[in-house]
């Protein structure tokens, strides 16, 4: 059979497409839930109407986004069984538990309270309604935790034994699965990156409105919140990335050697800035390197030895038998760089923005602006930037919206493809994980159907987002400002229209 269309290859493509697509929505859902909850908390505490308008505006975008996250998540729950039945048989005893926990604890939470939040504006007292969005936020974070614990087990299996008689892995220590350092650092890294994504989304859209001098009070608040989120989350993403990297250097040296296109072990090992390799020959043709940095990233020591691709391949051959244990090197190498590059670009734009649009700090009186004015873009003490540079900053801020999405996608492509040929590192190879009973035609059908459907939905979703972004924050109505005092709504008028309906 043509290898390019082998069921295993197709199943991998389908998993890659559906998962990367799903993960476009996940980080936005996680962060926008919390940010919207924060804005609504500000409304409830201060009764300043701009916070309620901001809540409604970002809440709407959040809902358009989460709808896609939820429906594409259904596929994730089932395709292990559909396309990876041998994987499911082998690891279900271990891997199934966090998935079931996720559904029982997190999914119910999220889906129930989101319904209450969407329809609850005129049915729930203010504070209870606010609690609902916080519940949704907690649900999204719990969900991330369980699924990342499951994924971490594939990266670094712990707390299990192999039952030879049944031919499967069996759980022996669930706590180890939930609390191993791989899981904790992956959760830390993914959540920080999620907030970087949501922050950048907010910055981009707020910048879009401020650049056009529209909806200034609400968008100024949003810009500020977005910028602070980007800077804090960006910093945490870098720190957690370093932590996760060190864990990976120990647990999956092959992945990290591939990430650096480091063919042969070196002490001290350099960090590669640019490389063009010859995979067949096992070395790089062109390379630009920073001496010693890789040793530091791996071991906190500028002169330590870092094993190379060829070393690890040989070691794994000795351990697991003959075979090629190298992942796709260019994908790992460039995926790693694009992840860091786009993520940190977004962080840099956020950091710059926080300084350039500062309210009062080191800002002379004449450059400070009122509540209804767009902030000046000020680099040095006494003078705002010229119109051209100002324009460039706002455009950069708008474009940063997409950067973390690209970084997230490459992060997952890197971490999953960097683990190949393993599905569960050192335990089960991907080629042994696929469903033997599902035919080439079936996988091809599903892959094409999912891809086509997702493409159409992407167009629908982006257009809808654009429409609501352009519309800006809604004007408040009488009903918005007089929330009910009783659960189920005050029965002032039995025929009053609902505040929100589908």
């Amino acid at each position: 059979m043509d290898l390019a269309l082998a069921p295993e290859t197709l199943a991998r493509w389908q998993f890659g497409i559906t998962t990367v697509y799903h993960f476009l929505f996940v980080p936005l859902t996680i962060s926008l839930a919390a940010l919207t909850a924060g804005l609504q908390t500000a409304w409830v505490r201060t009764e300043n109407e701009k916070y309620l308008r901001a809540t409604k505006f970002w809440g709407k975008l959040f809902l358009i986004n989460i709808a896609m996250g939820v429906v594409t998540g259904i596929v994730q729950e089932f395709q292990f069984g559909m396309n990876w039945s041998d994987y499911s048989r082998f690891v279900g005893d271990v891997f199934g538990a966090p998935l079931a926990f996720e559904a029982l604890i997190a999914f119910f939470f999220e889906s129930t309270f989101i319904g209450l939040w969407i329809f609850g504006w005129d049915k729930l007292p203010k504070k209870i309604h606010l609690a609902c969005i916080w519940m949704v936020s907690i649900g999204t974070i719990l969900s991330a935790y369980f699924i990342l614990a499951a994924n971490s087990w594939m990266q670094h299996p712990v707390g299990y034994r192999i039952n030879k008689e049944k031919g499967r892995a069996e759980l022996t220590d669930f706590l180890a699965v939930l609390t191993q350092n791989t899981a904790l650092s992956q959760v830390f890294h993914t959540l920080s990156a999620a907030f970087l994504t949501g922050g950048a989304f907010m910055v981009g859209i707020a910048a879009f409105h401020l650049y056009r001098k529209k909806h200034i009070p609400v968008m100024k608040t949003s810009l500020r919140l977005g910028l602070v989120t980007v800077v804090i989350a960006g910093l945490l993403t870098a720190v957690s990335g370093d932590v996760l990297g060190k864990v990976m250097f120990k647990q999956q040296p092959m992945k990290m050697a591939a990430a650096e296109a480091l063919w042969d072990g070196q002490a001290p090992a350099p960090f590669s800035v640019f490389a063009y390799g010859d995979v067949e020959e096992g070395h790089n043709k062109v390379a630009i390197e920073i001496p010693g940095l890789l040793s530091f990233l791996a071991n906190d020591d500028f002169s330590s030895r870092v094993p190379g691709i060829n070393d690890v391949n040989k070691a794994e051959q000795e351990k697991f038998g003959p075979g090629d244990y190298r992942p796709n090197i260019p994908v790992a190498y460039w995926g790693f760089r694009w992840m860091i590059g786009f993520g940190m670009a977004s962080f840099a734009i956020g950091l710059a923005g926080l300084w350039l649009t500062r309210k009062k700090f080191l800002l002379p009186q004449h450059l400070r602006v009122g509540e209804d004015e767009v902030p000046h873009v000020v680099l040095f003490r006494n003078k705002a930037l010229g119109p051209k540079l100002t324009r460039i900053y706002w455009l950069a801020a708008i474009w940063t919206l997409g950067f973390p999405l690209i970084a997230n996608s490459w992060g997952w492509i890197f971490t999953e493809m960097g683990r190949q040929p393993w599905a569960v590192y050192g335990v089960l190879q991907t080629r042994d994980a696929v469903s033997p009973g599902v035919s080439q035609g079936e996988v091809l059908t599903s892959m094409l159907v999912f891809t086509a459907l997702y493409a159409v939905l992407a167009v629908v979703e982006v257009k809808l987002l654009a429409k609501y972004v352009k519309a800006g924050p809604p004007e408040l109505t009488e009903a918005d400002l007089t929330p009910p005092t009783k659960i189920g709504g005050d029965s002032r008028d039995a025929d009053k229209p609902m505040a929100f309906s589908y």
Binding site: M68, V71, G81, S88, I105, L171, M498, Y502
Partner: protein
């Protein structure tokens, strides 16, 4: 009763919860074409399930996840074996969810009409296909010694399974009509009751044949009890519907679903997926289940989480307890 038996019961409970809850919201989706006369009425229907459909659907995800964790072999065989029908169900659930959320987000006529059409078909197809799937699970399929499904997609479309599909389709439509009568006010409420009678009679006929077929094929005394309860409850639901006791009618149509699912699982036990090729190759609660340690952890989790879920989901229904009619549907601001 060993832990894998407990989990067999819990999986049955999860599917029951799913069919009870999403059963009526599939039904409501189908009624958007069968009952509603115009857009405001369609919107009334959609909004009766608006706040809850998503939570209802999680019962399916949980049934899937719990099967993966408690019976990995069952999960693997079922989902890889029923590949194409499952694909169709997934496509429907994806489009359906988006349809609910996006329909009202634009005011253009064609946009709203298209999503409404989508809601109808993506409610109807899964309502039918889940019955087909369960018909095949209970009736047995071609499973080889490695627990692999070796039949093709046409084998799944056998008369017994197709009849099962008709049962879920009609039963969910009935359940949805009864739910609509309970949750709406005005003209649509009266018409929902009239429609419920018609659909209910058809449901009773189809369900009786299917359940008797199941009983004769593989039933025992316990399953016979469940059968009798299911049929009696359906009759009671019809009577209550005629008497205008909508709450009772809904409760009884719910009991019908519970008893019918219970009957299927009772005839299944101790198998989880019988093989028609060789009885030794059937997946059972013992050979398909996870290790006792995993089941123990899962039992703790389910024991704590499930009552909480029932509590806050129940609370949601109470929050949105008011009936709605066309007067409650405002034109959304665009």
């Amino acid at each position: 009763m060993e832990l894998h038996d407990v989990w067999f019961v819990l999986i049955a409970v999860l599917w029951t919860g799913y069919f009870f809850l999403e059963g009526f919201d599939f039904g409501v989706g189908i009624l958007t074409k069968l009952l509603a006369r115009d857009r405001p009425e369609r919107r009334v229907l959609i909004n009766t399930i608006g706040p809850v459909w998503d939570g209802n659907e999680v019962w399916l995800l949980t049934a899937g996840g719990a099967t993966f964790a408690a019976f990995p072999e069952w999960y693997a065989t079922l989902f890889s074996g029923f590949y194409l029908p499952l694909l169709l169900i997934l496509i429907c659930l994806i489009v359906r969810g988006v349809a609910f959320e996006y329909r009202a987000k634009r005011s253009e006529e064609h946009w709203q009409r298209n999503w409404e059409t989508a809601i109808f078909w993506t409610s109807l197809l899964p309502a039918f296909l889940w019955g087909v799937a369960f018909g095949n699970i209970v009736g047995g399929v071609k499973i080889d010694r490695n627990f692999e499904y070796v039949g093709d997609v046409w084998d799944l479309l056998n008369p017994y399974a197709l009849l099962g599909g008709l049962v879920t389709l009609t039963l969910f439509t009935f359940h949805g009509a009864v739910f609509t009568a309970l949750k709406t006010v005005g003209d649509i409420r009266e018409r929902a009751r009239k429609l419920a009678l018609k659909v209910g009679v058809v449901t009773a006929a189809v369900a009786l044949v299917f359940l008797l077929w199941t009983q004769i094929d593989s039933g025992d005394a316990k399953s016979l009890v469940a059968l009798v309860v299911a049929v009696a409850a359906l009759v009671a639901a019809l009577v209550a519907n005629q008497a205008g006791r909508e709450g009772w009618s809904f409760a009884f149509s719910g009991v019908t679903i519970v008893a019918a699912v219970a009957m299927l699982f009772l005839t299944l036990f101790p198998n989880v997926m019988p093989s028609t090729l060789n009885a030794d190759w059937s997946l059972t609660v013992t050979n398909a289940s996870s290790s006792p340690y995993t089941l123990k952890i899962m039992t703790w989790c389910a024991g704590v989480a499930t009552p909480l879920v029932l509590l806050y989901q129940g609370w949601t229904y109470w929050v949105f307890r008011k009936r709605i009619g066309t007067q409650h549907i405002a034109e959304p601001a665009h």
